[in-house]
């Protein structure tokens, strides 16, 4: 009964989404206030029914109702309760339902906080969001219904993929989706502006906080995913350039470009059509990511061909959204041009360069992700493009970007006298160079050109971004005197610097070794000695494990004890590696059990990862900066 209720609620939500998608748009076109007023009510109604539907699926998981195919395939009686809940979005059907829930929540929020927007504009924004929602609801109901029942009810479920049984991965998809889906708001604002034919600086001011909010969730979502891959996939990498990861990174790059271009549109009324194009691209890439991940085309072009329904549906949806948006853009964008100018040395120029470099970066990821697919479809051969390619190619846009950030932040709008800029940035630049040349050798005993360049860039960004808050603090006896949006920007850029420092140091000074180890034996890595004290059996609710007790010492002083495990999950029989990690602010010490080589002897992978935490810390600080910028009073005051 409950699953049927959930299914029914989803159908009602579709009906309401249709009302929300059609009536307000017609109303705005005819200037009919009654029709326009449907927007908010329909959006709220849709939200209520999507929540009911989502709750029904969650209930089925909690009750272990294995008559529901989706539950039977992704849960099990012994699965711990928190994972029964996260299993709701652990696979295709449920993650679509989560997508719809989040989109609906965004729409209600837009409705709630858009009271001071012109009624016609708000109606259009909510209408476009409604149409997008219709697409996803249809997709779920027609091709991916999570409420389908089984004829024969199995006594127990097939269990959730053990990889997903982890707190990090339980919250990673919701956060990522909040970001992904959030770009649909910027997209809808862009479409609404083009429908209205009126794109002024106020429009950018309305759009900015929504875009930044989506971006900050996407940032946290990606960082959490990277962190999860680091400790759960077992082998200590933090980014694999896997197509699924790239699918989230491309919208992030575009979204970052959009945030910066919106700043120019708001302050100077420039870059209007470019901003629109970025808003369309950021969301289109989110959709493309969904297509890549969900159609199965990445697993195999042929898997896609044998069950093409889902793939074709998303492809058609993607086509309608992108082509529709671009046609509208082609018609309307020329009317929006602005004639205001700016000098070659000005904030506008730096933001333009930022945009070009970020779009180039996104294009590189796009190329590297889709090339193997094209090769396969064209029958040239089956290629794979590995991390070395991406790592090298990404340096091209990212290195100049890193140096430009530090200058761009301080450039004035319209025109910047170059002498002032040089005088102000002289000291940070000098410190950055000294630290970059000296630090690698002093701390890690080795140096190199690329490391030094990386450290110089990182320190340069950090110092330069703290310059303005520091000046303000000295003048006013408190950073509070700075506008929140400026403070947020400085903090976010500081996060970029931390991130760059982490990436540089960990890629240069990471030590990794595979060894065989017997109980009582030691492995020495980077001045730390890992001793395998004992091997013992351990048990979890749905797995058995062999656990090593490893003591880590430095100069015979105990640093910590870690418990790496080799787990076997009872239902799926998969073996899983749980690394033992001793985390510190300046380094992680990492040991993972490989295979049993003989009595009491195992192969192990031991790693020393300096500053790896800075990678995720940097990302969280970027997100924090975004949050501070949104809280600026400017965005709360009326139009």
């Amino acid at each position: 009964m409950i699953p049927e209720l959930g299914h029914f609620a989803l159908i009602v939500a579709l009906a309401l989404a249709l009302c929300q998608g059609i009536l307000p748009l017609v109303g705005a076109h005819r200037n009919d206030a009654t029709l326009m007023s449907v927007a908010r009510t329909a959006a709220q109604g849709q939200f209520v029914f999507v929540v009911i539907s989502f709750a029904c699926l969650t209930w089925s998981f909690l009750q272990s109702d294995f008559s529901v195919a989706y539950v039977a395939n992704h849960s099990q009686l012994a699965l711990p309760t928190p994972y029964k809940i996260s299993a709701v979005w652990g696979a295709h059907e449920g993650s679509l339902l989560l997508w719809i829930l989040i989109m609906s929540a965004w729409t209600v929020a837009v409705g709630r906080f858009s009271r001071n927007l012109p009624a016609e504009f708000a109606a259009r924004v909510i209408g476009v969001l409604g149409l997008l929602s219709v697409g996803f609801l249809l997709f779920t109901l027609l091709t991916s219904n999570p409420f389908l029942r089984l004829e024969i009810i199995p006594p127990d479920g097939a269990d959730l993929n053990p990889l997903l049984q982890d707190p990090g991965l339980a919250i990673h998809p919701p956060l990522l989706y909040v970001g992904y889906v959030g770009f649909s708001v910027a997209f809808s604002f862009a479409i609404a502006a083009m429908l209205t034919g009126n794109l002024d600086q106020k429009w950018a001011k309305w759009t900015r906080p929504w875009t930044t909010l989506a971006w900050l969730f996407l940032t946290i979502g990606i960082a959490l995913g990277s962190w999860w891959a680091y400790y759960e996939l077992g082998w200590g990498g933090w980014w694999f350039w896997d197509p699924v990861e790239n699918a989230s990174f491309m919208p992030w790059l575009m979204g970052t470009a959009l945030i910066h271009s919106l700043a120019v549109t708001e302050k100077r009324g420039l870059f209007k059509s470019w901003t629109l194009l970025l808003a369309i691209s950021a969301f289109s890439l989110s959709l493309l990511g969904t297509f890549l991940v969900r159609s199965g085309i990445l697993v195999s072009v042929h898997a896609f061909a044998t069950d093409p329904t889902r793939g074709y549906f998303i492809l058609a949806f993607l086509g309608i959204v992108i082509i529709g948006a671009l046609v509208l853009y082609a018609i309307r964008a020329p009317e929006l041009d602005s004639s205001a100018g700016f000098k070659p040395v000005s904030r506008e120029t730096f933001l333009l360069l930022n945009n070009i470099l970020l779009v180039v970066a996104a294009a590189i990821v796009f190329y590297g992700t889709l090339m193997p697919l094209l090769y396969d479809v064209a029958g040239i051969g089956k290629i794979s493009i590995g991390p070395p390619w991406f790592e090298f190619a990404m340096l091209l846009p990212m290195l100049p970007l890193a140096f430009l950030i530090g200058v761009g932040m301080h450039a004035a709008w319209r025109s910047q006298p170059q002498g002032v800029l040089a005088r102000r940035l002289r000291v940070p630049a000098l410190i950055a160079v000294v630290v970059g040349v000296a630090l690698p050798g002093l701390v890690y005993g080795r140096s190199g050109i690329l490391v030094s360049v990386g450290v110089v860039a990182a320190v340069w960004i950090m110092l330069s971004s703290m310059l303005e808050p520091w000046r303000s603090w000295r003048r006013e006896r408190g950073a509070a005197a700075m506008p929140r949006s400026m403070l947020g920007m400085s903090i976010a850029h500081f996060g970029v610097g931390l991130f760059a420092l982490g990436v540089t140091i960990v890629s240069a000074f990471n030590v990794e070794t595979d060894q065989s180890m017997r109980t009582g034996g030691t492995v020495d890595v980077a001045g730390y000695s890992f001793e395998l004290r004992e091997l013992r059996n351990a048990e979890g609710p749905n797995f058995q494990a062999i656990e090593g007790r490893v003591e880590i010492r430095r100069d015979s002083e105990l640093v910590g004890e870690v418990l790496p495990q080799k787990r076997q999950y009872l239902v799926q029989k998969n073996w899983m590696t749980e690394a033992g990690i001793n985390a510190g602010w300046n380094r992680d010490l990492f040991i993972a059990l490989g295979d049993q080589l003989g009595n009491d002897t195992w192969s192990v992978r031991v790693q020393y990862k300096p500053l790896i935490r800075f990678i995720w810390l940097g990302a969280f600080i970027m997100a924090l900066g975004g949050a501070i910028a949104i809280s600026d009073r400017r965005y709360r005051s009326g139009a």
């Binding site: 697993v299 070659p344 794979s384 070395p388 390619w389 899983m576 295979d595 192969s603």
Partner: protein, 150 residues
Amino acid sequence: MLAVGLAAAGIALATVFTLTAMKDSMMFFIPVSDVVAGEYPADRNFRVGGLVVDGSVNREPGSLEMSFRVTDLRCELPVRYTGVLPDLFREGQGVVAHGRIGSEGDFEADTILAKHDENYMAPEVAESLAEHVSEQTAGLAEGSGECTSP
């Protein structure tokens, strides 16, 4: 505007240049039968894949050096590897290896991949196996399924 345009053009040019120059870091997947027949790139890394032959896994006691044979159900290729194996590496299971042919004609792998899901097999592996499954059942009598090496 001129400076901006030049910068943009420079970046674009550099990008195009790199993308073509780095063709080498793309790795082709070569079916085991082709490798055995000598049809593989000698001077760069490539990928092979198939099933780990039952009983072929050989370990030096107490060491990380090991060897095994991989088959596409027609030909078998000896593979050497030193290091920690992935969780799902097992005899009779699908596997993908990155590396190149060494001086002794063995495939010297620097990376071994086996996916985390029992039901999942790398698509290129599944495909190269599928080609020979029908041969084994039907064509073997006529001798068409023989492994040929130069």
